[in-house]
Structures are given as structure tokens and as C-alpha cells.
């Protein structure tokens, strides 16, 4: 079990930036800030043009941790409280799930919910319940 500090202000501020980035991308090129769609689009681009903006967006995302480093003097904390097999099985399921579900936390959870899309609301409620049940079972029933 790993305790983590409650960080309401950082989390609220970080969340507001995530929301602002989604608004900006929509205003500039009319696209949804969904990690799943951006990744899928880079792996199998419809056209060269389609690849370029996504690659540039990814480059921007990759710069994020270094801006954080400049501002705070440290890299962002990444603590992984699960085993490597769990990381791999989890990653595989996330990849399958977001492709069939058509989005993830950013696409459905932020962009879709912000537009009150019924599909995104259903998807978000479903994956939040799925995650909650999984964490409960793993930590308190199985005891991983």
C-alpha cells in the first residue's frame, strides 16, 4: 500500500490545463484531444497531413515533463505500485478496451463529457466503475 498526498490545488490546476489544451486544439484545428485517437492516428495515419499535426501534438506533450522540470527543479513523480506482469496485462487490456470503446479518459472523460455526448457519458461511467471494482478486487479481495 502506498499512501499518496492529497493535492487538490495542483490537481485542479493540472486539470484546468488539460481542459484548456483541449479547447485550444479544438479552436486551432477542430480536433478532439483524445490520447487514444491521437495514438491510433499516428500509427495508421489517413494521410501525410493527418500524421503531421498528430506528431507535432505528441512532441508538445513530450515537452511537458521538461517544462515541469524547469519550473520545479525535479521530474514528475511516477510511482508504479504494481508488478511488471500487471503493467503489461493492464496495458494490453487498456489498448483493446479503448479501441473498441472509441476513447479513453481524455477523449470520452474530458472532451466528450464536456460536450455532454451520451456515448461519452456512458463510456466514462462504465470505465470508472470498471476501474473502481478492479482496484477493490485486486487490493482488498486478492490482496495484490
Amino acid at each position: 500500500m502506498y499512501e499518496t498526498a492529497f493535492t487538490p490545488w495542483q490537481s485542479l490546476g493540472g486539470g484546468a490545463l488539460i481542459g484548456a489544451s483541449a479547447v485550444m486544439l479544438m479552436a486551432v484545428v477542430g480536433r478532439v484531444m483524445g490520447a487514444t485517437g491521437i495514438m491510433a492516428g499516428v500509427m495508421a495515419p489517413a494521410s501525410r497531413e493527418d500524421f503531421t499535426w498528430r506528431a507535432v501534438l505528441l512532441a508538445g506533450m513530450f515537452t511537458g515533463p521538461f517544462i515541469y522540470l524547469l519550473a520545479t527543479g525535479g521530474m514528475p513523480e511516477i510511482t508504479v505500485p504494481v508488478s511488471t506482469p500487471m503493467l503489461l496485462v493492464g496495458g494490453l487490456l487498456v489498448g483493446l478496451g479503448v479501441t473498441y470503446g472509441g476513447g479513453c479518459t481524455s477523449g470520452h472523460g474530458v472532451c466528450g463529457m464536456a460536450r455532454l455526448s451520451p456515448r461519452s457519458i456512458v463510456a466514462t461511467i462504465t470505465f470508472m466503475i470498471g476501474t473502481g471494482v478492479t482496484v477493490f478486487v485486486l487490493r482488498h479481495v486478492i490482496g495484490v
Binding site: G91, V94, A114, R139
Partner: protein, 147 residues
């Protein structure tokens, strides 16, 4: 100018993700661990992101088109089906097991953190597998229709 602004959008997203704690599986899993070491921070991430996105979209989507594109590319699917619900449930299970979601892990790929890279590798295999399966079932359906 267009690509520069796209780059800045990605940068703001990446900074937001690392500040918020979405790139930290310990924090993500603790948000869902209400019965254990609960950390409610992620509710503030979701809240902050939703309020800004909802207000911002209201303004932006009233415009005839984006600054550098002819149309807004909004999702057109409307159906709530087993793919949506089943896929989202599987995503949720995977998120609960690994603690990373795609948007949380993507910006921190650049840190070279081995756990992030392992997760990303598995995520890409999952996406490619699902795409292949979808193509197969689509071509089966087409074949059935043409019979």
C-alpha cells in the same frame, strides 16, 4: 503558425497531466481505492478539466469553423452498443490493473521511465490487436453480405 499552436496545445496538455498527478499510477490507483489508501485528488483533475473544457467548447464551437481548418471534426457515432460499453469496461479493468491510462502515460514517455515504456509497448500491442480483430470481423461481414 498552425503547427506551432498545435505544439503548444500538446505542451499544455503534457504539463497539465504531470502537474495533476495523472501520470502517477500510485495516485491514480489510490483515487479508486476508497476502501484503502484513498486520495481524492483525481476528482479535482476531472472537475478542473471538465469545467474549462465545457465552457471553452461552448465559445469555440459557436464559431463557423476552427482557425486553421474548414470544419470541426467531432465524433459522429451516436449508438450506445456493446462495443462502447464492453470496450470501456475492459479499459477500466486495465486501468485498474496498471494504473496508467493512455493520456496519463503519453506525455511521460519522454522521461524514459522503463515502466512507462513497458506500459506503452503493451498498450500499442493492444491497440494493434483490436484494430486487426476489427478488420477481420468487418471483412467477414462484408463477405456475408456479398453472398
Amino acid at each position: 503558425m498552425r503547427l506551432f499552436l498545435v505544439y503548444i496545445s500538446g505542451l499544455v496538455f503534457g504539463v497539465g497531466i504531470v502537474i495533476s498527478g495523472m501520470a502517477n499510477p500510485a495516485k491514480v490507483i489510490n483515487f479508486f481505492d476508497v476502501a484503502g489508501t484513498w486520495d481524492p485528488s483525481l476528482a479535482f483533475v476531472m472537475g478542473g478539466a471538465l469545467v474549462v473544457a465545457a465552457l471553452g467548447y461552448r465559445v469555440v464551437l459557436k464559431r463557423p469553423h476552427p482557425v486553421f481548418d474548414g470544419t470541426f471534426h467531432l465524433p459522429t457515432k451516436r449508438d450506445i452498443d456493446m462495443r462502447l460499453v464492453g470496450g470501456s469496461a475492459v479499459f477500466g479493468i486495465g486501468w485498474g490493473i496498471a494504473g496508467f491510462c493512455p493520456g496519463g502515460a503519453l506525455p511521460v514517455v519522454s522521461t524514459g521511465n522503463p515502466d512507462v515504456l513497458l506500459f506503452m509497448g503493451a498498450l500499442i500491442v493492444g491497440i494493434l490487436t483490436a484494430k486487426t480483430l476489427q478488420r477481420h470481423s468487418a471483412s467477414r461481414q462484408t463477405a456475408a453480405f456479398s453472398d
